[in-house]
Symmetry: C2
Subunit: 473 residues, 2 copies
């Protein structure tokens, strides 16, 4: 164990800056039968009915959380150098489960992600007030970090030595990093050959024991469920309700960035549906606590090839999950049996959001448009812009409304997709033409190192851009 | 041009939050003959002697910059939602060149990077107060963004349509993103086959015209110098002095994180030497303005295969550049003819820092150790930890001193290096053994999706870890 690190946190030389302990208390509540317990079994399922658990905060009922004071407190903390305040998650600790007194928080200074304007996409869609909340700017490059800091903190507090997850890649990268930071070992179950090289490299770099299983994501998840009953490993999959608590802070941070004026719409990619559940939970809690005057509509977009929630809503009205054989190049949402589907259905109903699906070409085009804004995201993130276009066509979103797209992962998570797109290898020529992808394709050119060759290439680019402009005019 | 975006910035719905214009004024000063001019030619070289220019701030001499007021002001801005204040660069705008009145700043909310404790590396090196400033957490994943926001702002202000750079990868990614954000086109010259796939994918995603030239980095740079004299493109290479001004903010932000208590040592990777020059300039300016009571020693570490500065100091005492044929897997510093070598020599002399070189195996080992802290960096960043070990052996750094390592790029910038290392493909078995790399190697295993297979793997990992612990004890 000589190479494992002691738990620590992001701070300066001031060793005496002790993390203040949050004051809230919490319990577990079943999303099915609503039964409440102070603790949960290792599978995080209800002992009565087997459904998923969520974290509830009964203490809030007794008051003491004043909206205006909370807003001031959270803002003040932005100028603090204390470890908990520097985290974009723990800065909002009044709305999170509190670790036991004196127990350390495992943090990599997650959250604090930018909210970008999207002038190009605004022109394309006609939505003037269009923004991207880029969760791919988290420490390991995806939104998973905001949940993992909370779940890893509680895993460590439970005294476990091993943590584990099944993953399409982002969760394993995040878990491995937080496990390393918290002095724990991590076990990663990923589908063989179906996750990006970059995400796999992260798990290895952070010291995870990485098993590539000859199955898909859903197979990995099923095996993990059995494993936690047989071996002493702590489950850090998205059914771990502590993760969703951390992911709530996306919505808190977003609303603070908007000076607490709710946008009309928030649009999020739908994979395992933990993220949409978390954001929805945050919105409902914020509304209940008086932090926001009204609820934004939270909409969920899936890839056509991994459209379990879309079909569940269309075919059973959300009463029974319709699973699918997932297939999409947006690997982060290639999930056919989403664990948090019931939570997501509730969130859609509570906020009045929509659920849509988009094609592979629509995803690639949207990703290139976001890239042309100077903002790099992974393919799964781009379903939000592609979905917005559909929701506009359907009249569900109106051009004068304000819209926030949640980008969940960094461009660098999947460079292969980008390279193949620009080299013209992702789709056939006919598909590219019909989808008008060409203006966004910039294939690299290989040249001799001569001035003439470079100047000629520059002039050609000028010419073709002018002809693009004329044909688009 | 329909697909190009208008200049913009990161902000919320408050469209009226106008960026306040910084008040400082500046000029160009030659680092050779010290002649001063209000403007610079396109090659950013002195018209008198041909040496590099730097930005000077003569207005500071007349006072008006009170150290204590500046510190308060910069800290207050951390709780602001205005675009300029949200940038970790422009927050320190009193020490930066000011754009012309009313001209917009091109920003992606760069800077604001974490300072991490390194408990594992502390145990390995014996340095208790050891920290990493992780510039790989910038928007495009490297320190280049902090300089590019300033240089792109001035490029845009100059009215240019095209910007260009020669690059080993990180500069091109950053330039392409900021060009896109500022509504400009970008031309990237990279050496064919010698930059990472991930970095190339970024340039393409952000819409750059990307030329892979059949030469090395130094050949690309030379061609760019000729190009800017012949074609209307604005040079954004590291000899652009606006970039170094932005990169200064690393030191400002670091010192703020340390409550303005200077560490004893700052250690930085040395490639083109722009970054060390910028950090050194910042330290000297901070000292001059009374922001810090004493200067940290700034040390520069190179790869053995790209050790131009090391040889320059040893063979000519820093009087004449010794160029080398660069070869290292740390691609971000694979540069044999560093443009800013004279600036770097001055900084080493002024701060009393050292210059060292490290081997490929030392780099790989240090990178794995940083990874095991839950912190992902690219190989070039890891030369800092490898270099620290050497400087400790030589007695230049003492264990009781405080040390900050500057990590310049994100793990995701070069996943291939990580994969090859963990799969045992980077070095021969003999080299691995002699370098004791094995405890940090975690090769992925491919398994059938059965519970027994996973449990067996878990048990084996436990056993081998126990035997590692015994053999290390």
């Amino acid at each position: 164990m000589s190479k494992r690190s002691a738990p620590t946190s992001d701070r300066g030389f001031d060793k005496d800056a002790k993390a203040r302990t949050p004051q809230s208390t919490f319990c577990f509540r079943c999303i099915g039968c609503s039964s409440v317990t102070p603790s949960a079994a290792q599978d995080f399922r209800c002992s009565q009915c087997g459904n998923l658990l969520e974290i509830a905060h009964p203490a809030w009922k007794s008051g003491g959380l004043d909206a205006s004071s909370l807003k001031s407190l959270w803002r003040e903390r932005r100028s603090s150098n204390a470890a908990l305040d520097l985290s974009g998650v723990w800065r909002f600790r009044e709305l999170l489960p509190a670790p036991a007194s004196g127990k350390p928080v495992v943090t990599l200074r997650e959250g604090n992600t930018p909210l970008y304007e999207l002038p190009l996409s605004s022109r394309i869609t006609g939505v003037a007030r269009l923004y991207a909340k880029h969760q791919g700017m988290n420490p390991t490059g995806s939104f998973k970090d905001t949940g993992m800091t909370v779940a890893a903190t509680f895993a460590r507090q439970s005294g476990c030595r091993w943590v584990a997850c099944a993953s399409t890649g982002n969760t394993s990268a995040s878990m491995a990093a937080y496990a390393a930071r918290g002095g724990m070992r991590s076990l990663v179950l990923v589908p063989e050959g179906k996750i990006s090289w970059s995400k796999l490299s992260q798990a290895l770099d952070y010291g995870a024991l990485t098993c590539q299983l000859r199955t898909d994501f859903d197979g990995c998840l099923q095996l993990l469920q059995e494993l936690v009953k047989r071996a002493p490993v702590y489950q850090l999959n998205s059914i771990n309700p502590f993760r969703l608590e951390g992911q709530k802070t996306l919505a808190l941070e977003l609303l603070e960035q908007l000076d607490w004026q709710p946008p009309d719409h928030i649009i999020v990619p739908g994979g395992n549906l933990g993220n949409s559940s978390a954001i929805g939970k945050a919105l409902l809690e914020m509304h209940e606590l008086g932090l926001i005057p009204r609820l934004p509509k939270l909409s969920i977009i899936q890839a056509e090839g991994a459209n379990a929630l879309v079909r569940t809503l269309r075919e059973t009205r959300g009463k029974r999950l319709v699973t699918v054989q997932a297939e999409t190049r947006a690997t982060a949402i290639r999930i056919g049996n989403p664990a948090s589907w019931e939570k997501a259905v509730k969130v859609l109903q509570a906020t009045g959001g929509a659920c849509e699906q988009v094609s592979e070409i629509e995803i690639a085009q949207a990703k290139a448009e976001i890239g042309a804004e100077g903002i790099g995201c992974e393919p799964a993130s781009a379903v939000t812009l592609a979905g917005l276009k559909k929701l506009l066509q359907q009249g569900f979103v109106k051009k004068q409304e304000s819209v926030v797209l949640v980008l969940t992962g960094n461009l660098l998570k999947d460079p292969d997709f980008t390279m193949e797109f620009h080299r013209g290898e992702l789709f056939s020529a006919t598909e590219r033409e019909s989808a008008r992808l060409n203006p966004y394709r910039h294939p690299p050119v290989v040249l001799d190192a001569t001035l003439d060759a470079v100047i000629q290439t520059l002039e050609q680019a000028e010419k073709s851009e002018k002809s693009d402009t004329r044909s688009n005019a």
